[in-house]
């Protein structure tokens, strides 16, 4: 029995000795690195033949979760042609990262889709093309209909390797519904 106890103590001692190599995971906390985050979408409508610019924004500066995004209501003149520009930002970083440039660089993987509902409110046509001659939608033209209210859905489709000019392939990077008022 004496022998038993001796061996037991030896083992227990050996065990405790092995805990000296503890490491504190708190010393190595790395900042989150969400490299696909988009927090802000800015639409710029310029009335054709004028310099009247209206800007509308949807932004969620704290990213997904937390506070919900705040989205402006779009208000445009009836039966008017606008040129439309779009800007994407990641405002969770300081300074804010301009995602528009990155989308432009990878224009053969991205496609903006503007869908008005009801469809008669606004018709959008992209005015830029990527290397494969497919539309991008960073700049385009919008023609409004008669006075009415509805929604304008703006989507950025990420279509790495699958872009074919339609909205179907890929997945959404942006999917925002703006209230739309034509007056």
């Amino acid at each position: 029995m004496k022998m038993n106890r001796k061996i037991t103590w030896m083992l227990l001692f050996g065990m405790t000795a092995l805990f000296t190599q503890c490491k504190d995971s708190g010393d190595e906390v790395k900042p989150d690195d969400e490299n696909e985050l988009i927090t802000t979408v800015i639409l710029k409508f310029t009335e054709q033949g004028t310099t009247n610019v209206s800007t509308f924004k949807s932004s969620d500066p704290d990213g997904e979760g937390g506070n919900p995004p705040v989205t402006d209501a779009i208000s445009l003149k009836a039966n008017t042609t606008y040129s439309v520009g779009i800007q994407l930002l990641d405002e969770s970083k300081t300074p804010a990262a301009d995602i528009t440039e990155e989308v432009e660089e990878k224009s053969d993987e991205h496609l903006f889709i503007y869908t008005a509902s009801p469809a008669a409110l606004l018709t959008y046509t992209a005015e830029d093309k990527d290397a494969n001659n497919y539309p991008i939608g960073l700049v385009g033209k919008a023609v409004t209909g008669t006075a009415a209210t509805g929604k304008l859905k703006v989507q950025l489709r990420h279509q790495a390797g699958t872009k074919n000019g339609t909205a179907t392939p890929g997945s959404d990077d942006v999917n925002v519904d703006f209230d739309l008022k034509i007056q």
């Binding site: 022998m3 065990m15 790395k30 989150d32 490299n35 696909e36 802000t40 949807s58 979760g65 942006v174």
Partner: protein
């Protein structure tokens, strides 16, 4: 060793006698029950481990050896041959054959159902991953993410609620993730066992649903060189698997044994009946080395294994918004349908797992035994999203979007006290676990340090066909988490502690009938993902939010079974009732989560009281000579008591039937068979209302064919071959527990060819 013999004169005076030894130490086992199935004969081994059963008539018998603390073993004894021979010969000349009884130690609770796959049955699962290998057992299914990632599900529970003991060490990976398969190569094991029900006392917290034991064979101390080579080919995914084991003793050094083992696996895109699934290839490279030494009662084993896998994840499962998901569901099949390729592109996961373990034990002369196991595990997981960063210079680095490094150190000291009066045996033990997790990439789970210490005490008592078991355990756990919230480091500490208990009994009512009952408790602390997850899950199109105020789950599980065994019929019927207080699950929230990507359904980790109750039935019936029907039924009903509702992701009921014909001896081929089988899986009707994007898939029925046999070449050389066809009619189906059921069908027809060469010198 068992000696089978005949005494003189009377035809019913044959006897069986022998000795029972511990496989590990070679020492005799005292107080083991040796009985003949179907006969009213049972004896105990004496102080030298010897026993004798007298007055047997000639015939074939099944000899069962049961010992407290060991797995039971069955041996077929043939007393028919030679019964017309001269009975007056000396005892040592009338040996018919020697059957080795080596008792295999197990820590599994004696009163809980334990099912084991080994030998030829295990051979016919070779090449499959761990969860797939266990799928044939009643009450066991798998949770899949496509066809290459599966996790075992026991009685409806998985992930952190199922504990895996890999070669005696608690497997520690990122188990909280339903798409994180256990990083274990089943080729390491010669036995895969499942303990069903809460087994918290012996194995510690988390074992609420059950425990999976992955066990290699004992090292071949002082034996000559031997080994085996396995080759497996699968038609679907054009997958090839090769694995080899070589082992032996060391000449000139008594007491040594060693083993080396390695596996390669490579597969390409998997095909459903109508189309290929994009990016579903896999590649796996594993190896293990072990060496051991024995001297009288002392023994030491050192084991190292490395598991390394690269898994493609079906690209159609990356969902940017709910609109994307609804579009795929509406389309009925994936939008991308490529051809066949072995290439693995994004999204994919690369995981490696290193385990080093040293186990040492000493058998004292008086019957006491002490064992110390120390192990370190390093789990390294890298996950690559579908899209690279938009910024070219960062994208060029091709870094994973998620990196986890989990380092775990475990220590277990177990003392088996010497049997008291040959009837009471027991053990006390201390287990500790220390681990830290480092992660980087997009926000998912925090860094953490975790420490756990547990103490347990189990006693078992065996007398007159009764075997009783009682145990208690106390665990204490601290968890320190660190994460970045709005650019500031936030640290949160948690402490959890709890008692677990077990009480069980096994009764051999007659030689053909036995019954067992166990009431066990287990608990589980909330894991880091349940506490802190906060973001969109791109595979599920859901916004998942953790809750740092969650408390621990507490399970009380009652499990009872009755087993009838006769020569032609074996029936095992089991029932269970597992009550889990504060069961943690993802509860759908009434308001969606709004993001720049659109509105996502919002789920929050919440606690409720749940009941898991079910029935497992298995029947083996030899209808006529050589024709056997095996039928397995798993029924499970899960209820959310607090909300008067059901829970999501519960396996539907299933019924598995197999008709097997054992072929008569064909030349040199033995154990040749052909079989036909059917698996019927019902539709899961018990789902909470409005909690899912698509209703649970329809019921399905799959047919399979199998054939196989063994060809002995010489005493130590043999070939074993099997060919099987799964999903024979190429049926298109979807399984409720496949997380990709929204996007695509399950795997189509699969033809597998398996070949094993076992050799020795």
């Amino acid at each position: 060793m068992v000696t089978v013999g005949y005494a003189q004169n009377s035809s019913c005076a044959c006897f069986i006698k022998g000795e029972v030894r511990d496989q590990h130490s070679g020492l005799p086992v005292v107080g083991a029950t040796v009985l003949i199935i179907g006969q009213n004969n049972g004896v105990f081994t004496d102080a030298q481990g010897k026993y004798q059963i007298n007055n047997l008539c000639p015939g074939t018998y099944q000899l069962e050896c049961r010992i407290v603390g060991y797995t039971s073993s069955l041996h077929k004894i043939d007393l028919t041959e030679g019964h017309e021979e001269d009975f007056s010969i000396e005892e040592n000349e009338i040996h018919l054959h020697d059957v080795e009884i080596t008792a295999h130690r197990t820590d599994a609770p004696a009163s809980q159902p334990l099912t084991t796959i080994s030998g030829s049955e295990l051979f016919r699962t070779r090449g499959d991953n761990l969860a797939e290998s266990l799928k044939g057992l009643t009450g066991v299914t798998s949770l899949q993410t496509g066809s290459s990632i599966s996790k075992p599900v026991i009685h409806g529970m998985h992930s952190n609620r199922v504990l895996i003991m890999n070669n005696g060490v608690r497997q520690e990976g990122q188990q909280w993730g339903s798409e994180h398969a256990p990083e274990i190569d089943p080729f390491v094991a010669t036995r895969l066992s499942v303990v069903k029900g809460a087994a918290g006392v012996r194995y510690g917290s988390d074992a609420i649903g059950g425990v999976i034991l992955v066990e290699p064979e004992e090292l071949p101390f002082n034996k000559s060189l031997s080994g085996e080579v396995n080759l497996v080919g699968f038609s679907n995914g054009r997958q090839g698997v090769s694995s080899a084991t070589i082992q032996g003793g060391i000449k000139g050094f008594t007491g040594f044994g060693w083993r080396a083992q390695g596996t390669f696996k490579r597969g390409g895109n998997v095909r459903t009946p109508n189309y290929y699934l994009d990016n579903t290839g896999l590649s796996e490279k594993n190896f293990s080395l072990s060496v051991g030494y024995r001297l009288k009662g002392f023994g030491i084993d050192v084991f190292y294994s490395r598991f390394d896998t690269q898994l493609g994840i079906f690209s159609g499962s990356h969902i940017g918004s709910v609109t994307d998901l609804l579009n795929v569901i509406k389309n009925g099949e994936p939008l991308i349908k490529p051809g066949f390729t072995y290439d693995i592109a994004r999204p994919n996961q690369n995981a490696s797992h290193n385990l080093i373990k040293a186990e040492t034990h000493y058998h004292f002369k008086d019957g006491n035994r002490i064992q110390w196991t120390i192990a370190q595990q390093l789990n390294d997981r890298n996950e690559f999203d579908l899209h690279r960063p938009r910024n070219d210079s960062i994208a060029a680095l091709n870094r994973p979007e998620l990196t986890f490094k989990l380092n775990t150190l475990t220590n277990d000291v177990v003392w088996d006290h010497k049997p008291i009066g040959g009837k009471i045996s027991g053990q006390v033990g201390v287990s500790s676990l220390y681990q830290y997790n480092l992660m980087s990439g997009r926000p998912l789970i925090p860094n953490f340090n975790q420490f756990n210490i547990g103490m347990f005490w189990i006693e078992r008592y065996a007398k007159n066909g009764w075997e009783m078991e009682a145990g208690i355990r106390y665990d204490y756990r601290t968890l320190a988490t660190h994460r970045i919230v709005r650019k500031e480091k936030v640290s949160t500490d948690f402490t959890f502690s709890n008692f677990s208990g077990t009480l069980g009994a096994t009764k051999n009512i007659s030689q053909t009938l036995s019954a067992r009952l166990n009431v066990g408790t287990a608990w589980r602390a909330p894991n880091v993902s349940e506490l802190f997850s906060d973001g969109v899950h791109h595979g599920a199109a859901a916004y998942e939010k953790g809750d740092s105020t969650l408390t621990q789950e507490q399970a009380i599980n009652t499990i009872a079974s009755v087993k009838y065994t006769s020569n032609r019929l074996t029936v095992e019927l089991g029932g269970y009732y597992n009550y889990i207080a504060d069961y943690i699950y993802l509860k759908p929230q009434p308001e969606p989560m709004l993001t720049i990507r659109g509105a996502f359904p919002y789920f929050k980790y919440t606690q409720t009281n749940a009941v898991f109750r079910g029935i497992d039935l298995s029947v083996d019936w030899e209808l006529i000579k050589n024709l056997t029907l095996t039928s397995k039924l798993s029924y499970l009903n899960v209820y959310d008591k607090s909300n008067d509702s059901y829970l999501v992701m519960i396996p539907p009921n299933r019924w598995d039937n197999q008709l097997k014909y054992q072929l008569p001896v064909l030349g040199q081929v033995k154990d040749a068979f052909i079989s036909v089988g059917n698996l019927s899986v019902a539709r899961q009707k018990r789902v909470p209302a409005n909690s899912d994007f698509a209703p649970p898939p329809k019921a399905y029925s799959l047919w399979n064919l199998q054939a196989g046999g063994t060809l002995p070449v010489s005493e130590k050389n043999e070939f074993e071959i099997s060919i099987s066809v799964q999903n024979l009619f190429n049926t298109a189906y979807r399984d409720y527990l496949n997380r990709f059921r929204y996007y695509a069908d399950d795997m189509g027809r699969q033809v597998s060819l398996r070949l094993k060469w076992k050799f020795g010198v």
